[in-house]
């Protein structure tokens, strides 16, 4: 019976390997379905953290301001042509931060230079630039001196008469004054609105507007909402300042990755060797269980997906070192029960039963540690806590179910 099972296992193993070998494109497709996500310290790239100064922004406008800034910065970042840039906001201790992750970017300081500017909103008049020599004139834009500083708020509204969406602007007192003069000068002409030196709108001025309130029409709802967000980002100036910058070159990244993977493989083999030497037959089962554990855990990491950082790989390798502990506890206890005279199958059951409390308590201690690690550290180290946590959970499962099933299947009282 045992012999048959061994032969069966060998055949299955051979078939699967042959299949993978023969149908390589299929294997590649399956693997690429969910590619590995590598952290910046493994792929190379830049990690930037900006502090958003919301001190001059009213509480109710803060969320809108932060989102507005996020959108503007994302727009700027997308111009670099970096694959999958990530721009997101973080709140730390009551303060808002903007995080920009650029993988594999070539010119970091150019990126920083372009990002570093607070979204800037300004109004410009259309003027004629007379070229005295050529006696021609072209149209250009001249700054009207009215910019985001003077804008109090921007809101979505609906035109009273046409019921179409409109962006309602409200200037502060000084702004209202400027605006009044500006509109008076430009009746019948378009007034250009620039955000970050890019023309976003140029409504035609119909009449002098004295009340400091203006309305921009001719947009659909989406455009209007976007404009309001951008206005608030520019209108409620929230300066951003760079507080953290980390760059890792792609060369260093791939070198670290290679070394980490090799260390992981070698470490796993070392453990398997040890288990085989010390525990012999039992060792074979724990080796099998370990390999299954590694495959299972890596697959889960890939599917979730978890972004693998260097620290994350370290956490996983550590969990491999621990995964086999449960087996050791069970085997030792089983040896004791065998000495007491129990039959093989019963000794194994008793071994599992008695060892369980130690296994459970040890792993919970590690889970507590990873849990606290996760919430108390930042970014790169979070990866470590996460892989350790998941690794320990899966190893508990694998030790108890996989090893026990293997043992139950193959060991009979003899």
């Amino acid at each position: 019976m045992k012999r048959n099972i061994l032969i069966l296992t060998a055949v299955v193993f051979l078939s699967v390997s042959a299949g993978i070998f023969a149908f390589e494109p299929l294997w590649q497709k399956i693997s690429d379905f969910r590619p590995w996500r590598l952290g910046l310290d493994l792929s190379g790239g830049t990690y930037l953290v900006y502090q958003i100064d919301l001190s001059k922004v009213e509480i109710r406008d803060r969320e809108s301001a932060v989102n507005g800034i996020r959108d503007v910065i994302e727009r700027r970042v997308n111009l670099f042509g970096v694959s999958e840039p990530r721009v997101y906001t973080e709140t730390v201790g009551g303060e808002s931060r903007l995080v920009v992750e650029l993988a594999g970017i070539k010119d970091v300081n150019e990126a920083i230079r372009m990002i570093g500017e607070t979204p800037f909103l300004d109004f410009r008049e259309v003027v004629e630039i007379k070229d005295s020599e050529k006696a021609t004139s072209t149209l250009g834009f001249a700054s009207a001196g009215l910019d985001g500083r003077y804008l109090k708020t921007a809101r979505i509204g609906f035109d009273n008469i046409t019921r179409r969406p409109a962006v309602l602007l409200e200037f502060n007192n000084q702004g209202a004054e400027f605006f009044s003069q500006l509109t008076e000068r430009n009746i019948g002409k378009p007034l250009a609105i620039f955000l970050d030196n890019e023309l976003i709108s140029s409504p035609v001025v119909n009449e002098k507007i004295a009340g400091g309130q203006a309305q921009i029409t001719g947009l659909n709802l989406e455009e209007a909402k976007l404009l309001v967000q951008r206005f608030n980002a520019g209108a409620l100036p929230a300066p951003i300042s760079l507080i953290n910058q980390q760059t890792v070159s792609a060369g260093l990244g791939s070198d670290s990755l290679q070394k980490a993977v090799w260390a992981g493989v070698t470490g796993t083999l070392a453990i398997i060797l040890f288990m085989l030497l010390y525990y012999r037959i039992f060792g074979i089962f724990s080796a099998l269980a370990l390999l299954m554990y590694v495959a299972l855990t890596l697959a889960i990491f890939k599917i979730l997906p978890i972004t693998m950082t260097l620290a994350g790989i370290a956490g996983f390798i550590l969990s491999i070192g621990m995964a086999v502990d449960a087996n050791i506890l069970v085997f030792e206890r089983t040896k004791e029960e065998l000495k007491k005279g129990l039959l093989k199958a019963a000794a194994i059951e008793e071994g599992f039963r008695r060892a369980w409390s130690s296994i459970r308590d040890s792993n919970i201690a590690t889970l507590i540690t990873s849990f606290i690690l996760y919430y108390f550290t930042s970014s790169f180290v979070k990866g470590f806590a996460l892989t350790l946590f998941i690794g320990v959970l899966i190893s508990m499962f694998s030790a108890i179910t996989i090893t026990r099933t293997l043992l139950r299947t193959f060991i009979k009282n003899d």
Binding site: R113, N244, I328, S357, T377
Partner: protein, 298 residues
């Protein structure tokens, strides 16, 4: 058969010595803090042409001022540490260095402002306290059905003492390395300490479990506590050593062929694990014995 209780004075003495030595080192020399804890710039460069350390130091002194810079050599790499640079300064220094020393490869550049550093320091302290307390409290809970001789809270508190012992010694080692080789601590170091705590408690649990089981079984007999504890330790010896050995194997491999940036991180965990194994076998049980109720037979 190891007489842990009989020779407890020796074992506890050695531990006490090491812990005191570590604490003294920490107090006297302090930790050299990395840039993620105090802010600063860390710049790793690999020059294409040979560069002499002294001339690099001199140039840096000229452009960055004499204060706050250090240059370590790690194979062909230079690790330059400065005050926090803004991007403009970064580029300016880069051009300057290129002029003086030719082309170089910028392996990594990190500029961290002091605010983040302060945050991380605070969080680090909290994390250590929470893990220490969390694990000890969990032990008290897990051992709630303990016998009269050793109440559950004793298991918990002894665990806390052992964990403290297990992190103090690697910390002392790092201070020593800091003095000798300029090794700095960073968030990774804190993580390493936390990991040591989380792991070294494993074999302590194994021994305590056995002691508890034996006490339960021998409840109605006139068993001698010292003998019970000695037997427990010896019976679980193989377990303690082997579970730690698998971890030590993996850590040793990482230390020798793993990525160099993780070297001190893994080293700290390795030292902590070895110390932790020693403490579970030779320190935790004697402490339990020392703390027994006075009315027990010796």
């Amino acid at each position: 058969m190891i007489d842990v209780i009989g020779k407890r004075k020796i074992f506890l003495g050695v531990s006490g010595l090491l812990v005191s030595a570590s604490l003294i080192l920490i107090l006297v020399f302090g930790f050299r803090q990395g840039i993620d804890l105090v802010g600063g710039t860390e710049w790793r460069l690999r020059f294409f042409e040979k560069v002499d350390e002294n001339s690099l130091n001199q140039v840096l002194k000229d452009i960055a001022g004499a204060a706050n810079f250090s240059v370590l050599i790690n194979n062909e790499e230079f690790v330059v540490r400065l005050h926090p640079l803004n991007e403009e300064e970064h580029q300016r220094y880069r051009l300057h260095l290129e002029e003086k020393f030719g082309q170089f490869e910028e392996l990594s550049f990190s500029a961290i402002g002091p605010t983040i550093g302060r945050e991380l320091r605070q969080r680090a302290v909290w994390a250590i306290i929470l893990v220490l307390a969390g694990i000890s409290l969990y032990i008290i809970f897990a051992f709630r059905k303990a016998s009269r001789e050793i109440k559950s809270w004793k298991y918990g508190l002894i665990t806390m003492a052992t964990l403290f012992h297990d992190v103090a010694i690697p910390a002392g080692l790092i201070v020593l390395l800091g003095v000798w080789k300029g090794v700095q601590i960073d968030t990774n170091f804190i993580v390493a300490l936390l990991v040591v705590m989380g792991f070294s408690v494993h074999d302590t649990i194994v021994v305590f479990d056995r002691i508890r089981e034996k006490l339960m079984i021998n409840r109605n007999q006139k068993a001698v506590l010292a003998d019970l504890i000695n037997q427990s330790v010896n019976e679980t010896l193989a377990r303690s050593i082997n579970t730690s050995l698998t971890l030590i194997l993996v850590l040793a491999v990482m230390v020798f062929i793993g990525p160099p940036s993780l070297f001190y991180f893994v080293l700290t965990i390795l030292v902590g694990t070895i110390v932790g194994t020693y403490s579970s076998i030779f320190v935790a049980s004697p402490l339990l014995y020392l703390w027994r109720p006075k009315d027990l037979p010796k």
